[in-house]
């Protein structure tokens, strides 16, 4: 009895403070650090939903116990989404360079095809490790289900692995990395352009299906908006462009090619920003788990490492670089391509790669926070 009275006297002022705070746009019961006000404003602005604790408290639930089960996926799946995106995007970019690039752009194709295979290699082990019964992974090949993105994903990954592997082998035999014997002569006779088109289709599939996979669930933050697939595929493109330009800036590449990659990177980031903002707006209240600053919610990481540091900042830097670059007179020295290393572009690309990783990480972890939020889950199902 004494305890309850004690609790009551303690709670009364907090309640008042809580109501006052909600009126002054800071809606959390505990005192919150100063910078989260900005994050909360950003969250309301992008999602179009301002958390209203008082009306949310009136919604009915069963002791706030989760209304859906928490996802079982963690770091393996985060890394798979990131690496799979890189593998897919690198392949597609390399194919575009093969099909439409100039002579000096061949280095993009070469680096792209190798990067694709290397990024793809850790994917199957990560996926198998994530299973509850890894030794039974072959059972995935029992069925072919259009309605199940995971089933389609298995077949898509398998097919894409085939294309990525063969293309890298063909590229390697062109480059003489496999030695010179009848096998490599046979391989180098396969035209890369023939592989590029079907391989790219499966590449797009691999880059985008992971977003579809998350959308085809009952987790509110993943399933409310139908933009997660578009967001993931756009991130796959921008991160892989960044990866290839990082590699090219380390090993050295024609300045013209790097300039093309810069422009592609800039455009890809712009599309990713558009996809991300559309996703947040269409997810509305359910995006709270991704952009909110309450415990378990991903807001602080999302805004700093992904949206701010991994997308907006590199995009602004890239814009400045392109403006500065276009003012300089372009020297056309046809004999002996001038190669370039390092530069600001390296920083931009590394930031984009960081953003791509944190996009996967915050979205997957937001699923955990979202599944624990019974009120939003039930609100989402009211339709």
């Amino acid at each position: 009895m004494r305890d309850t009275q004690h609790e009551k006297t303690e709670r009364a002022p907090t309640d008042e403070a809580f109501i006052n705070k909600t009126h002054s746009h800071t809606s959390a019961i505990e005192p919150i650090p100063h910078q989260s006000t900005l994050l909360e404003r950003l969250a309301s602005l992008t999602t179009g939903y301002t958390p209203d604790s008082i009306s949310e408290l009136k919604e009915k639930t069963y002791f706030d116990y989760p209304a859906v089960k928490a996802p079982l996926w963690s770091w393996e799946i985060i890394w798979y989404f990131f690496m799979g995106g890189l593998a897919a995007g690198s392949y597609v970019l390399a194919s575009i360079a093969t099909l439409f690039g100039k002579k000096e752009d061949r280095i993009v194709a070469r680096v792209g095809y190798y990067a694709s295979l290397l990024a793809l290699l850790p994917c199957p082990p990560l996926l198998i490790k994530d299973l509850g019964r890894p030794e039974k992974f072959l059972n995935m090949l029992r069925v072919f289900k259009f309605k199940s993105p995971m089933s389609m994903g298995v077949w898509g990954l398998l097919t894409f692995s085939g294309f990525s592997g063969i293309t890298a082998m063909v590229q390697a035999s062109h480059d003489g990395l496999l030695g010179r014997w009848w096998g490599t002569r046979l391989l180098s006779r396969i035209p890369l352009k023939l592989l590029a088109i079907p391989g790219s289709i499966f590449g797009v599939f691999l880059g985008g299906y992971t977003g579809v996979l998350l959308t085809v669930t009952s987790i509110p933050v993943w399933s409310r908006s139908k933009m997660l697939g578009a967001l993931f595929v756009s991130s796959a493109f921008s991160t892989s462009t960044a990866l290839i330009s990082v590699i090219l800036r380390i090993i050295g590449a024609p300045a013209k090619t790097l300039y093309k990659l810069e422009k592609i990177e800039w455009a890809n980031m712009l599309i990713e920003i558009t996809c991300l903002l559309t996703y947040l707006r269409t997810a509305g209240r359910t995006a709270k788990a991704l952009v909110g600053s309450e415990p378990k919610e991903q807001g602080p990481t999302f805004w700093t490492m992904m949206f701010g540091g991994g997308l907006i900042l590199p995009w602004l830097l890239q814009t400045l670089m392109l403006i500065a670059g276009s003012k300089q007179p372009r020297q056309h020295t046809s004999q002996g391509q001038p190669t370039k290393r390092g530069g600001m572009g390296l920083l931009v690309s590394l930031l984009v790669l960081m953003g791509g990783y944190f996009l996967r990480r915050t979205v997957v972890n937001a699923g955990h926070a979202s599944s624990a939020d019974a009120r939003t889950t039930l609100w989402n199902a009211r339709r």
Binding site: G132, M140, K145, S200, V216, S223, V233, K260, A381
Partner: protein
């Protein structure tokens, strides 16, 4: 190796063939069993007394291990949710000061308990009961004047055995199937514990047994008992017939009748959940009679069917990829 007839070469070959067929067994498509009438549960929460006999009977029959007890401090429900080793779960919902009499809603005095202090005359022996004023907002004929309107709702939760089950649609191995009784069943020899069904289920039902065999588990509607023409263990153990088992069509008719009866008696908030075809576009083979809004029981009122998201999301992928591909092509073609 040689058998009794001394035929040396035949045995290893037949053995190998046997091994191969065993290895390929999960890939073999069996002929479906002959269709049986649809079977399901009708859980009538108005009859539930919260005895948890269903939880225990289920654990016993299915040989499920007990979960580590954890005091929730919220109610008598220390199970909290369904899980890999809990296939029936009884909820306890305490609704205190739920329905404040409408007439005196503004009067502060009415809110205070006990109600004996109110001006309402307390019924006594030999009094004319019909002269007593009835508390507004209380179901006619059910409330005695000295009863408060507080109530205690109980519900035995279970897998809904959806006609269009999201877990079954999500399953990438084909481990989750609809049986010949149209119940949803996880074939344990096939499930590899990918965990996709866990996030697909909109009802917080199916779970992976991470401490056990690492596979997905949920209510089987006692498939083994069904095969032998027996009632599922929970329905058999239920002492109040709150859990009824039978053919879905018949159960749905019974449920309508029961709902009419309750509404006639003044329980206007009573409703059926999953008995029509609205939820997940096909209804639930294991449905409920609720006394309040579904959200009170943590049930989603109209959950989306996850597989409907495949097409719109894929379209988004294709459009975005096409735009980005064109931009890449344009910049690469530039001098």
């Amino acid at each position: 190796m040689s058998d009794h007839n001394g035929q040396v070469s035949a045995t290893p070959i037949t053995e190998r063939v046997q091994q191969l067929t065993q290895l390929l067994a999960p890939f073999k498509k069996e002929k479906p069993l002959p269709e049986q009438p649809k079977m399901g549960f009708f859980t009538d929460t108005s009859l539930c007394i919260g005895c948890k006999a269903c939880e225990i009977a289920c654990k016993q029959w299915n040989q499920l291990p007990a979960t580590t007890p954890e005091w929730t401090g919220t109610s008598y429900d220390n199970t909290q949710s369904l899980g890999a080793t809990t296939w029936r779960h009884v909820q306890f919902i305490e609704q205190i000061e739920r329905r404040i009499p409408h007439v005196n809603a503004s009067d502060e005095k009415v809110l205070k308990l006990p109600l004996f202090e109110m001006d309402t005359p307390v019924p006594q022996m030999g009094m004319d009961l019909s002269a007593l004023p009835e508390l507004a907002g209380t179901p006619t004929g059910t409330a005695l004047p000295f009863f408060s309107t507080d109530r205690w709702l109980m519900r035995s939760d279970v897998c809904k055995h959806c006609a269009n089950a999201p877990c079954q649609e999500a399953c990438p191995t084909g481990a989750i199937i609809h049986t010949e009784f149209d119940t949803v069943y996880v074939q344990q020899d096939i499930c590899n514990g990918c965990g996709y069904c866990v996030v697909a289920c909109p009802f917080d039902v199916i779970a992976r047994d991470s401490e056990g065999d690492g596979q997905a588990h949920k209510c089987t509607l006692c498939y083994d008992r069904l095969k032998d023409g027996m009632k599922p263990a929970c329905a058999k153990a239920c002492p109040t017939d709150s859990i009824q088992f039978g053919e879905v069509e018949q159960l749905k008719r019974d449920a309508q009748e029961r709902l009419g009866f309750l509404q006639e008696r003044g329980l206007t908030d009573a409703r059926l959940y999953g008995a029509d075809d609205k939820i997940l576009e096909g209804g639930l083979n294991s449905f409920f009679l609720l006394l309040d809004e579904p959200e009170t029981y943590n049930l989603p009122s109209n959950p989306a069917r996850p597989s409907n998201h495949v097409l719109p999301t894929s379209l988004g992928v294709i459009v975005t990829a096409a735009v980005m591909g064109l931009i890449g092509t344009f910049f690469f073609k530039q001098e």
